[in-house]
Symmetry: C2
Subunit: 688 residues, 2 copies
């Protein structure tokens, strides 16, 4: 990032004022006046409500939108990689070949996939502050969780099973909400293009622009075995957006870190990011070399590699952002300004002045056992699907014995249906790949904790990581959903008597893992949460509420316009077109076009807009989000950001941060001309 441009950035989150297209706004606090002033369009409550009800959350971390009244859902192809892999086999490679259901009965259920639609939300900040009032940090931390669990349960009981209720923390503790969702647990694959066109350019082009990716797919939501009735859907515009047209993105951005203190940012820079990058770069290398050992190995890891490469690119640009000392100095200055404003008022100072010290001490403490906590409680030492199941079974059966509001929140009554759905899902597990990642993670545990760590001794004993991984994976039967469910239903007694080596290991390390969890909750999470709540309140009192919270994988609407940016003195054209896709193709992955596209070349209009950029403020989790015009019609599909968008985790730079989307024009043309998907096109009922 150009430092001079960066210095001009206004960090709205800190000051509440900006003319930039910044902000991942909650649905109840959208800045309609500011948008009207800048773009001369009115986004009213009806518009927002329509967008809300047409937007779906994919529970694996993406967004989608209803595209017809019959439950059709548009999302990215890359959001369905897990589903596509789970539905593929050596004989049927849906990733390479793509998929189109020729009739509804041929639509394929995605194992374990759910989608949700936000139907209502309720501010419960007062309930939470009442529950924690007067308590010291660790007790308040427990009381807060118990209160949220209780509110969720009340909400679900009131809805009598019609809705799922989730507690949401906004503004790092400035507000607490209960969000009410309609959930669909039967979701089926309708259409997926070949991954060679969906992710054309692969990792080299990822987060770059110009770009030519048909990163789209369709799912369908089912209820009671029939396509769901979804009257709230988005109509499509066939022509795509115009240059400079204002656009809006409704979706579920996953997380941002714009409200972190300097101490928290430096923890990311010094510890979290370097460690993650070192480990996952090595895992990437292991997977790349391993995929050459067989076709089946290649099929198993192909999209997992793409996923890791995406995450590496994100985090190395996070680290790069945090090495931008000018930006950090501006963050520091803003923190000092807030602290000075607090200190200037004796009441504020008494209430909030201690927040930063609380956070500093919590982070100092965390630095001392971050690696232990990461590897043992967060299970980075045991990178394995089989172990994940074992941990869930061991933990979940034990937690179920406790009263609902004393449980770990991953196992509350509100959370258990999802837990069970994951345990019961038929998802193939490749044992060789399991050994690869488990060997890797055990070796990394020994590398980072050191061979003399008590945790390392407990897990490895005198075995080598490779031998232990092989014994655990070969001996475990947890790849069978029936075995998992039998243990789950058998409860703690069945678990205690299980001879499965993964279950034995999960049982064996649970006490030390729980001890680390408890230490984390009491010594890190509790003071951090309290400190963050204090800062959030101080900010509301000083800067007002005309602002937006960090992303939390909950519904947000962001606004902007179709617009390029200056790159080395040249304006980047915000649209790409079909002609250059064919020029760019080399015949070798990741620049290889599928046969369908090569065959359709002459029939395609070379001038059709393909991908485009907009100034909207999005992040991971927004993948699959509809890009909507002021008239309420869908004009594109968000699937990426440009390289500068990655620093958006910490600050929004309006000069360079861009969303990358698929134009509705190419989506429709590809469906018609490349794939002959006439039924789908008809279902989309396009607005001309």
């Amino acid at each position: 990032m150009n430092k001079k441009i960066a210095l001009a950035v206004v960090l709205l989150a800190f000051t509440g004022h900006s003319t930039a297209d910044e902000g991942m706004w909650t649905i109840d606090n959208f800045p309609s006046d500011r948008v009207e002033e800048k773009y001369d369009v009115r986004i009213d409550d009806a518009w927002l409500r329509a967008a809300q009800l047409a937007t779906t959350r994919l529970e694996n971390g993406c967004t989608g939108s209803f595209a017809s009244p019959d439950g059709l859902v548009l999302t990215n192809n890359h959001c369905l990689w897990g589903c596509i892999r789970n539905l593929s086999s050596a004989e049927r490679n849906l990733s390479d070949k793509g998929f189109m259901a020729s009739a509804r009965e041929q639509e394929l259920r995605c194992p374990g996939q759910s989608i949700s639609v936000l139907v209502d939300l309720e501010d419960v900040t007062n309930n939470v502050s009442t529950a924690t009032k007067g308590l010291e940090d660790a007790a308040a931390n427990n009381a807060r969780k118990a209160a949220l669990t209780g509110l969720e349960t009340e909400c679900e009981q009131a809805a009598d099973g019609a809705f799922k209720c989730e507690a949401v923390t906004l503004y790092n503790g400035g507000q607490y909400f209960i969000y009410k969702y309609k959930r669909y647990d039967d979701v089926r694959l309708v259409f997926a293009p070949e991954s060679d066109i969906a992710a054309f350019g692969g990792d080299p082009d990822n987060f770059n622009f110009p770009r030519w990716c048909l990163d789209m797919s369709f799912l369908r939501a089912y209820e009671n075995g029939k396509p769901a009735s979804t009257p709230n859907y988005l109509q499509w515009r066939s022509g795509g957006p115009k240059l400079a047209e204002p656009v809006f993105i409704s979706g579920h951005p996953g997380s941002t870190d714009r409200l972190l203190t300097m101490t928290q940012l430096k923890m990311q820079r010094d510890v979290v990011l370097p460690m993650w990058l070192l480990r996952y770069s090595e895992l990437r290398g292991r997977m790349l070399a391993w995929q050459n050992t067989s076709d089946e190995a290649a099929r198993t890891v192909q999209q997992r590699i793409a996923g890791i490469e995406n995450a590496i690119k994100v985090r190395r640009n996070h680290l790069k952002a945090l090495h931008n000392d000018s930006m950090l100095a501006m963050k520091e200055k803003q923190e000092q300004q807030l602290r000075a404003a607090v200190a200037a008022d004796s009441e504020l100072q008494a209430a909030y002045g201690g927040a930063w010290k609380l956070i500093d001490e919590a982070i100092d403490t965390y630095r001392n056992f971050y690696e232990d906590h990461l590897f043992i409680e967060n299970a980075a030492a045991l990178n394995s699907e089989l172990f994940n199941h074992a941990r869930t079974i061991v933990r979940g059966t034990a937690e179920r014995e406790l009263p609902n509001n004393e449980r770990i929140r991953a196992y509350t009554d509100a959370a258990l249906p999802q837990v069970e759905q994951r345990l019961a899902a038929e998802r193939p597990i490749d044992r060789e790949y399991e050994k690869l990642r488990l060997t890797f993670s055990l070796e990394k545990m020994r590398e980072w904790l050191g061979p003399d760590s008590k945790h390392v001794h407990r897990i490895l004993g005198k075995e080598s990581p490779q031998d232990l991984a092989a014994a655990l994976v070969d001996g475990s039967k947890l790849d069978d959903p029936a075995v998992r469910m039998a243990l789950w239903e058998g409860g703690i007694e069945a678990v205690r008597n299980s001879a499965d080596p993964m279950v034995r290991l999960a049982l064996e390390i649970d006490p030390q893992a729980r001890a680390l969890r408890e230490r984390f909750e009491n010594e890190v999470e509790a003071p951090l949460t309290r400190g963050e709540e204090m800062i959030a309140d101080a900010r509301f009192q000083i800067y007002g509420s005309d602002t937006y919270p960090d992303a939390t994988f909950t519904l947000r609407v962001t606004y902007g316009a179709v617009k390029g940016w200056q790159e080395k003195g040249e304006l980047v054209d915000p649209f790409t077109r079909t002609s250059r896709l064919f020029e760019r193709a080399t015949g070798a992955r990741p620049f290889m076009l599928p046969d369908t596209w090569l065959a359709a070349r002459e029939k395609l209009d070379p001038d059709t807009p393909f991908n485009f950029v907009a100034t909207t403020d999005i992040t991971g989790g927004n993948s699959g989000s509809p890009i909507v015009a002021a008239d309420g019609n869908l004009v594109g599909l968000a699937f990426d950001g440009n390289i500068y968008s990655i620093a958006g985790d910490y600050w929004f730079d309006p000069a360079t941060n861009r969303t990358v989307g698929v134009d509705s024009a190419i989506m429709l043309e590809a469906l018609k001309t490349v794939y002959g998907a006439d039924e789908l096109v008809k279902e989309l009922t396009v607005v001309e």
Copy 2:
């Protein structure tokens, strides 16, 4: 590193005063008075001269010491990994099995290995400043190199072939020297233990302590086919050093960065280190997965993996050091103090005041094309032995046509014998491993330069990295020394007519690579060198000459004492003993003991000191250095530092920075009791 301890560190390099055991001192400026004051022993010129003549430089980046009058050289086992691999085959694995020549005629010549002994040195600072006086930076840069090339040639001509002469830059340009070496090009392997005991604990224990590594080997220098006569050797003390005894290390530390400016340090932190770590962590992963594909693959990469893991550990701790904002603030303060002292004197200000701006601008420029320069001119895109040979042949034959002092300095008359030795050396090249690393590096080039880079287009065209790597490696015959030498002797005509694909590629990209080299030399190296010279002069004038230069792989002597350090409130015992080696062994690598050791267990004294730590200030390149007592006898063999020693690249922390050495007691006992190496022990003529 504990920040509070770190803050107390005195950075001698910046201020000239310290009571710490800091400094990699040149032989002509050893602080004998300071040592006498602290340790009550006198290190006189005769002592230093004896150490100098007994110390050898291994041209592959290590140190050794003469151990007998018949050319016997002690060094680390890990310094000979290349030699051991080159002498091994599927049938004869010298790494797993170790090696001991039962008679002199069975000693095995290490292909391409040379060692050197510094016999004399001459200050030529005035010659260089005369040559560059009044010239602007780029012209001065060329004139400086030409002057150094000329001085080397003069020196070699005067010696009539008896010595090799090398220009040496000290204090980042504060002094220039000609160092005169006696070189031995026939060096043979005499003894190597199994790598399982030499590197016991592997990567997990590397840079850690307590430690149990017999990281020793013996070479022998030959002249005219006979063992060299080396009257200047070190006598061994059988008992090793005592607790708190002062010790001295004579060796060739490779490089340190203690004199860099803040701008230069941040270039390391922001760009150089993260990029290197990401790339090599991935390569590590590829190698780890690939070694499982066959025994031969495992043998090919086993020690290369160890080498990469070592380098990763170094650099990740470099990055950690540069994330220590307190230390960086101290560096910044010291830089400001020096700048203030310069500014306070109008003459100094006129002469040196502009230095920092020169450096800042040079680094800013470099940031703009660092990746291009790294991948194309520094050939990070072409990580391949075969390509290295091709580049040498293409560059060297062209450069030979130029007058000596106009050549790239790697190809001056003084340098050519080493170049030719490397080309002629019989070293096995594994084609599958070549493909692995070449595919990797081509992919990384595309990742970091982007698919639209003109360099990427030039090298890849429409081929995939994997296909291109396979074609280049399968098609090249440069693994045959005779083919290489025919091209080398055939000169530019033979090279131009070669059909070898590696040669064609090296020819094809040479113009663009040279253009990047020229840009680097003129726009980065020239102003950097000038700026660094100015700062060095300013420092001499303000702080005096009672200081030491950054390491430059030239002879240095460092001092200290055998002493532990405080780790989490506990004093670490500076000695380990044999008993715990056996307790630590698990039977699985890297904690597996060789059969020889298991068989000898009962005969070994469990209390023999094994490894120990000392406060001496060393770095990479010092591997294999003799640890010498004040009485001139060898008491140990340096092979590592503790984890805190890695930050020593930027500053010396006397509280925690420790050298790790092999005790002479265990070396002698192992030779006698484990290996029955009676002849060797006799040759060592041990002092009791």
